[in-house]
């Protein structure tokens, strides 16, 4: 049984894990990356559309191109990686952790002083959005349909309905259309689209695919393969309105109804999760509530752009490399109801916070809003935003060290939406 020791073990070889591993290595740590699939790159392997890397590389790359640039960087540094290797459990042992894995080579145990969890996210399923009716073949999440289409080269539908206007759903609407399938429409229960505006235009409107807001799929039909779906209008509480049902004949229902950070390993270590992000509560160094355990990328919160994932993961990697047990001096960051969430959720005043990246999403579509940071009621920072939408994440970089924070400080971010143009 293999038994090795590392300064930092990174779990997950997608964009977050790669960036974290590179950054931890560059900070001088002995790093091991663990990946359960055969190839590095994570979900980007199947995201063959372009639009990645605009911030990081100033280019519009496809998913594989973006991932492979990082993979090249990773290999150039000769960082240790094992693929087709699955983490079965993590134990806290002494001052560090023991990661148990299985692979074709058997069981292995890796000792780590610090862990970076870069485990990504998963899609919400049909049952999680309470789709009822029969259980035929032909109900896919967008990611599953993407896997069939882009990795296996198989067409999962000839005529489909897409539920949810999340970006993957929009991307798949275009992708399937290009491959010869008919996309009858994208149905969204919310009154506003969930995806980026550019995707609405370039994926739907360019191909005359209609978007129906405040509509949802209430039932599926078909005993073998899906034969039709029932669509209903919904009210402002997203409850279907009786009498608005219509049947649409199709062979597939493709779901893009949200992503959930994968934190089962984190939870097994006792990491505290934020109910808003469904990811760990972290500080400015991406350290979770468990000392020595760091989180990044979509496992921390679902990002809109991979560029932010890489950037955020690099912070986690460097912090994991520099990790030494020491007493924390935590202060909570509170946010107003107009913010959907903010990461980090706290700061450790025992560490440097002079260049802390803050990520947030607004709860609604706000024109000319104002974000203000107050410490003990005193405003120390503010910024105006011409336009905020929940699908588009925002990033700020702040120097918290100059704000005279203590563990008892009341730190509040307040987003004030303004209705009239200011």
């Amino acid at each position: 049984m293999k038994n090795e020791s590392y300064d930092v073990v990174v779990i997950g070889g997608g964009p977050a894990g790669l960036a974290a591993a590179i950054s931890a290595h560059d900070s001088g740590a002995k790093v091991l990356l663990l990946e359960r699939e055969a190839r590095l790159g994570g979900i980007l392997k199947q995201c063959i559309h372009d639009g990645f890397g605009l911030i990081r590389f100033g280019e519009k790359l496809s998913g594989p191109e973006y991932a492979e640039r990082y993979i090249d960087e990773f290999h150039a540094r000769q960082i240790a990686a094992v693929t087709l290797t699955f983490v079965t459990k993590i134990e806290k042992t002494g001052s560090g952790f023991t990661v148990h894995t299985v692979s074709r080579n058997g069981v292995a145990r890796y000792r780590a002083a610090a862990l970076v969890l870069a485990t990504g996210c998963r899609e919400r399923t049909a049952k999680q959005v309470f789709i009822h009716g029969t259980r035929p073949a032909g109900v896919f999440t967008a990611g599953t349909a993407q896997h069939f289409t882009n990795l296996l080269g198989e067409l999962p539908t000839k005529r489909c309905v897409i539920l949810g206007s999340g970006d993957i759903g929009l991307i798949m609407a275009r992708r399937l259309t290009l491959e010869g399938a008919e996309v009858l429409g994208v149905y969204e229960a919310k009154p506003t689209p969930s995806g980026l505006t550019r995707n609405l235009h370039q994926c739907l409107y360019d191909y005359d695919i209609p978007l129906y807001l405040s509509h949802t799929v209430t039932r599926v039909f078909g005993t073998d393969r899906l034969e039709s779906v029932e669509i209903s209008e919904v009210d402002e509480h997203m409850t279907p309105i009786p009498g608005t049902e219509q049947r649409l004949d199709c062979d597939a229902l493709i779901l893009s109804v949200g992503l959930i950070p994968e934190n089962e390993l984190a939870e097994s270590l006792g990491v505290k999760l934020d109910p808003k992000t469904k990811g760990p509560v972290c500080d400015g160094q991406n350290m979770t509530s468990v000392d020595g355990v760091f989180s990044c990328g979509n496992a921390l919160h679902v990002n809109d752009l991979v560029d932010y994932v890489s950037e955020n993961a690099a912070v986690a990697g460097a912090a994991a490399a520099a990790y030494k047990p020491q007493k924390r001096k935590p202060v909570e960051i509170h946010i107003s109801d107009t913010l959907l969430y903010m990461v980090p959720q706290q700061l450790d005043l025992a560490r440097n916070n002079n260049k802390t990246a803050v990520y947030f999403r607004a709860r609604g579509d706000y024109n000319n809003s104002r974000l203000a940071l107050t410490v003990d009621g005193k405003e120390v920072f503010s910024r105006r935003y011409a336009f905020l939408r929940p699908p588009e994440m925002e990033k700020l970089e702040l120097d918290f060290d100059g704000m005279g924070l203590t563990e008892t400080s009341d730190v509040q971010f307040k987003l004030e939406p303004q209705t009239e143009k200011g």
Binding site: T125, H132, T141, T149, E154, L155, D224
Partner: protein
């Protein structure tokens, strides 16, 4: 049975719409009513408990649409000309367990199942509870079998390598005033009906064991002999063991008709050929009445009853270690189901349900919002921490009760070479091991009238399932992977299922190379992502195993296409 009293009752309620007559030792109801609920009411009102005279329902109703039994969309001659000693119709828990018990004798046994897999209907769509029998009184067949069968479970499941946990059952009461009455009820059950393990415990004793259950519980009935088993796992294991011992199982094989002469079944027509059995066992679940009719031996009716269960994330498995349900005593109406409950399944999830809804549709397993809402409303009283948001899947099954709400386990009344194992509903999974022994004995007794039937000395009761690597220690796992590296390649991340386990399932005695078939056997896709990540991988493994293109792999039935072939048809051919 007092016929004229029943007639008066019907007349008072339904006027001249329904008539009743005693024919061939059955009470036959005829006429026409507006709703199915009225049909049920009419038939139930004349049904007599523990009577050999059964209600036969020939009432038509406005609501009822004639939906023919779903049959495989193809014909061939796979079983044509087969002349087994015993033909078992139905691959649910009854048919599978009977087939296995029959292989203890030197008999030619053929089991036919119309679906793509075993346990695809009620046997695979129930809660998996191994009942203690607390609600059963003397006189019924259910009661006759329950204790004997309950006690058999440990041995049967260890022989067949099926997950079974005797986790016990609590029935919760919130009203202390009921305690003396329930106490008497338990004593009556214990000493009169032989449910020997039952006892009352206090609310604080309950809380010490199960802190997440209803805090307002004043006392509870505790039945330590209750357990949970994987219901489809047990059915598949029984059938595999039957096959190991020489029985044949033919899937996709629907019984369409029978040739009956002089009270004897001469042949049985299926979509895969005509079979010439010496004896037929009717274990056809919701279609048991239809099979009886084909055999010209219809003396009972089945009225389908739907039940929906929800499964929640394994994380919630920590909330409960047993089976629990709150009891709300109601004075009105009979409730034929156990009223639903919350339990920790054999696989460590929580299961919530089922409800009970009468239906004329024998095969409608579509789910609906209302069922889940009803069940959760009640079960949130049992366990306040329950949340619909933890649901990962839900499913509906259709029970197959008679109007007498008891089993029919007997030789044909008019047709001689026929044994019915009908009306099997809850606790049918529990009673199956004992019922199967008796039905097999009845079959042997029948055949012995015509031929010699010897014991099968070579019978091997041991069936080994696919190894479950996630439950092994690192050292055991290391050894398994050394022997077969595929055990180290994890395909299903949620349930931690390896490629090796999937390939083992494909090489099992009954190979069902479909995504659902694999899911039922080794669980990829049973977890929180519901196959989102692993279903393409499982599809690919099956395609490689079959040496077929990916598009040839099915979810379950032959028409349940997953993909429509390659995106690139490569017409015109340009090389690069």
């Amino acid at each position: 049975m007092n016929l004229s009293k029943c007639s008066k009752k019907l007349k008072k309620r339904f006027g001249d719409a329904v008539t009743l007559s005693l024919e061939n030792q059955s009470v036959v109801l005829r006429g026409h009513l507006a709703t199915w609920a009225q049909v049920i009411e009419a038939c139930q009102s004349v049904a007599e408990k523990n009577s050999a005279i059964h209600v036969v329902n020939d009432i038509t109703c406005d609501e009822q649409t004639e939906t023919p039994m779903r049959v495989p969309g193809f014909t061939d001659n796979t079983v044509d000309g087969a002349a087994p000693d015993v033909l078992v119709i139905g691959g649910g828990i009854s048919g599978a367990s009977i087939a296995r018990e029959l292989t203890k004798w030197k008999l030619d046994v053929l089991l036919v199942e119309k679906e793509a897999d075993l346990a695809l209907q009620a046997s695979g769509r129930n809660d998996g509870e191994v009942h203690p029998g607390i609600d059963l009184g003397k006189g019924s067949l259910k009661h006759r079998y329950i204790r004997r069968a309950n006690r058999m479970f440990g041995d049967v499941c260890s022989e067949l390598d099926v997950e079974f946990h005797r986790i016990g059952q609590y029935v919760l009461f919130q009203n202390n005033a009921l305690k003396p009455l329930i106490g008497l009820y338990c004593l009556w059950r214990k000493y009169h009906d032989g449910i020997e393990d039952t006892k009352l415990i206090s609310g604080s004793q309950l809380r010490a064991q199960e802190p997440h259950l209803q805090p307002g519980t004043k006392f509870a009935i505790w039945n330590p002999s209750a357990g949970v088993v994987c219901p489809y796992g047990l059915t598949i294991a029984y059938a595999e063991n039957a096959v190991q011992n020489g029985a044949k199982v033919s899937l996709h094989t629907a019984v369409l008709d029978m040739d009956v002469k002089n009270g004897e079944i001469c042949s049985v027509k299926t979509n895969r050929g005509t079979i010439f059995p010496k004896l037929v066992i009717n274990a056809a679940g919701v279609f048991a009445e239809d099979v009886a009719a084909m055999a010209q031996d219809r003396f009972f009716s089945i009225h389908p009853r739907r039940g929906t269960n929800s499964i929640t994330d394994k994380k919630t498995g920590a909330f409960l270690h047993s089976i629990a349900t709150v009891k709300e005593l109601s004075v009105h109406g009979k409730n034929h189901s156990k009223g639903g409950g919350t339990m920790r399944t054999a696989h460590g999830n929580l299961l919530v349900g089922p409800d009970a809804v009468e239906t004329f549709e024998k095969e409608n397993t579509a789910t609906n919002r209302e069922s889940i809402a009803t069940v959760f409303k009640k079960q949130k009283i049992t366990m306040p921490d329950l949340s619909e948001h933890d649901i990962i899947t839900y499913f509906t099954g259709v029970r197959a009760p008679t109007f007498e709400e008891d089993y029919i386990i007997e030789r044909g009344r008019r047709t001689t070479n026929l044994i019915h194992c009908a009306g099997i509903q809850s606790p049918g999974l529990t009673t199956a091991p004992a019922v199967a022994e008796d039905v097999a004995q009845m079959a042997v007794d029948f055949l012995k009238e015509k031929q010699t039937v010897e014991q099968n000395q070579a019978f091997n009761p041991i069936r080994k399932g696919v190894p479950v690597l996630r439950k092994m220690s690192d050292e055991q796992r290391e050894e398994m992977i050394r022997k077969n590296p595929d055990y180290g390649v994890i395909i299903c991340r949620c349930e931690e299922i390896s490629k090796g386990e999937i390939l083992d399932a494909l090489h099992a005695p009954i190979c069902v190379p479909t995504v659902d078939g694999i899911k039922k056997r080794v669980r990829p896709g049973m977890g929180r992502c519901q196959g989102g990540f692993c279903s393409p991988l499982v599809t690919k493994i099956i395609a490689d195993f079959l040496d077929e293109p990916l598009s040839a792999v099915r979810k379950s039935s032959p028409a349940s296409v997953i993909t429509y072939g390659k995106t690139k048809q490569n017409e015109g051919g340009r090389d690069a």
